[in-house]
């Protein structure tokens, strides 16, 4: 297959794709997962998403107003950040968690660095990491699917970490999203519909998500609990926030490497770190931390993988 996404020196051919078009398309592609989340976890899930969106957009507008910058909330990037943050929250959190999280994502995760395109870390994930370190008790108590009585139940990954039996969660349940988890991460089928749309429109490429998911699957299969090649790779691929993270957060333009080779290294690192955190780390889930750590490594990956300018000696 010809490599159509090569980063090269000029001349460039203009393509009628703008930042705002991409942002709104990604947001649109995330809608099915949100609807599924609202259906699975009930009204609170919808409520949290709306609060998160409003806070994110308002924060961006207020900060741009205060710093005398052009207000750019129409480009959809703040909307997308708010949406992704909400999707990374358990449905049972109190209302102020998405408020603080969205504010942190936009103000500290993005605007402090100079706004869109300048941020080192994925803003939504920075917000989630802040919430996770600040209110671990709220961020790790989940409600079960289709039970609207707010009884806490552990996620499949948390059960695995504590060495408890998984119960009757089948692959099909996990695929459809009938399990405990964050609002937007549970319904794999809805996420895949959105991802297919983005892949089809070529807004994201297939290298990052596939390398990421494949690495997690293979690694967890190889390093199984009962020795070599005994792991349940499919379980690990379907559980936690892997699908959401791989398709919608690791592919963030700003915080992932520029070249295809760099992106593959980036995605491999994400996958490896995710698997390591899940298998041996302190937390049951590691997708968000893996992506954040690889975000930090992105500049150095770029440095070693960028296309050479013709005639210049390699250092």
């Amino acid at each position: 297959m010809p490599n159509r996404l090569k980063v090269a020196v000029s001349p460039h051919i203009h393509k009628p794709v703008s930042v705002s078009k991409i942002m709104w398309s990604v947001s649109l592609s995330l809608i099915p997962a949100g609807i599924a989340g609202a259906f699975i976890f009930g009204f609170p899930a919808l409520w949290i998403t709306v609060i998160s969106l409003i806070t994110a957009v308002t924060t961006e507008a207020v900060i741009q107003k205060l710093t005398n910058k052009k207000i750019s909330i129409k480009d959809g990037s703040a909307f997308l950040t708010g949406l992704l943050l909400a999707y990374n929250l358990p449905p049972s959190v109190p209302f102020w968690i998405p408020v603080v999280g969205s504010f942190f994502s936009i103000a500290i995760g993005k605007m402090i660095f100079g706004g869109l395109g300048q941020n080192i870390f994925n803003p939504a994930l920075a917000g989630r990491a802040f919430l996770m370190a600040s209110w671990p008790s709220y961020m790790t108590s989940f409600t079960g699917p289709l039970k609207f009585d707010a009884v806490t139940s552990a996620t499949p990954l948390a059960l695995l970490k504590e060495g408890k039996p998984l119960g009757d969660v089948s692959y099909m349940d996990m695929f459809l999203g009938l399990r405990g988890g964050c609002i937007g991460e549970v319904c794999i089928i809805a996420l895949l519909i959105g991802a297919a749309y983005l892949l089809f429109r070529r807004y994201i490429n297939w290298q990052i998500p596939f390398t990421f998911i494949l690495t997690v699957g293979l690694f967890t299969w190889i390093c199984g609990p009962r020795g070599f090649l005994t792991g349940d790779g499919i379980f690990h691929v379907l559980s936690g926030g892997l699908i959401l993270g791989a398709f919608f957060m690791a592919t963030d333009y700003v915080t992932s490497p520029l070249t295809i080779n760099g992106q593959i290294i980036f995605a491999f690192g994400c996958g490896l770190l995710t698997a390591i955190i899940r298998l041996w780390g302190g937390y049951p889930e590691g997708v968000s931390y893996a992506i954040l750590i690889m975000n930090a490594a992105t500049p150095i990956i770029d440095r070693f993988t960028k296309t050479r300018v013709y005639g210049i000696v390699r250092y």
Partner: protein, 201 residues
């Protein structure tokens, strides 16, 4: 002392508080700042201990600066500083064991606090006795004030307390602000804030 000299002394004193604040402008001694700025009482204890060491070491260094050869000045300074730190630690253990316990390892670590060595090297080794004293006092107070500002913010947001009293029973503090990562965040934001004020001026 003439008025001009007095003015000069005052300048040496006041510069450490704002214009050359050790934490926010010189960015020296951040290690204890990250570690002990979790509560206002710790901050004051740490600030007082550091100020004492600063004054002591600055005075001695400025007194014997002519006798110390250039080549071995650093070990000489360190011995002097370490002496004062040990004195502080012994006194603290004898008269305020609770504070000593709260500050823990960071009291002996004042020895390697860059502010103390930095002032001995950059200031006291070149200046007079009186100026060195004023400089140490100013720097010590500047460091204490900086620690207090950071610790007030961290105590409030990280532990939900103001001077060891909880703000409300329903307030859920952001634990991360109380951790070292939160200290970096708070210091970074404060640095940015102070630079912003400076630019506006």
């Amino acid at each position: 002392m003439t008025e001009k000299q007095q003015n000069r002394c005052f300048q040496e004193f006041i510069k450490g508080i704002i214009r050359e604040n050790p934490t926010f402008v010189l960015a020296l001694g951040l290690c204890p700042t990250l570690a002990v700025s979790t509560s206002v009482s710790n901050a004051i204890g740490m600030g007082a201990a550091s100020t004492f060491v600063l004054i002591g070491s600055n005075l001695i260094v400025s007194l014997i600066k002519k006798q110390i050869p250039e080549e071995i000045r650093i070990p000489c300074y360190i011995v002097i500083i370490a002496t004062f730190v040990t004195v502080v630690e012994l006194i603290m253990k004898a008269y305020s064991p609770a504070l000593n316990r709260a500050l823990g390892i960071y009291v002996p670590l004042i020895v390697v606090n860059c502010i103390v060595l930095g002032r001995a090297e950059a200031f006291a080794s070149k200046r007079t006795f009186v100026h060195s004293f004023m400089d140490a006092l100013g720097m010590g107070i500047g460091f204490t004030l900086a620690l207090m500002i950071i610790s007030i913010i961290r105590e409030f947001f990280g532990f939900g307390k103001i001077i060891n009293y909880p703000v409300s029973y329903n307030f859920h503090p952001a634990l991360v602000i109380g951790m070292p990562a939160g200290a970096l965040l708070v210091i970074g934001l404060l640095l940015g804030f102070f630079n912003l004020i400076k630019q506006k001026k």
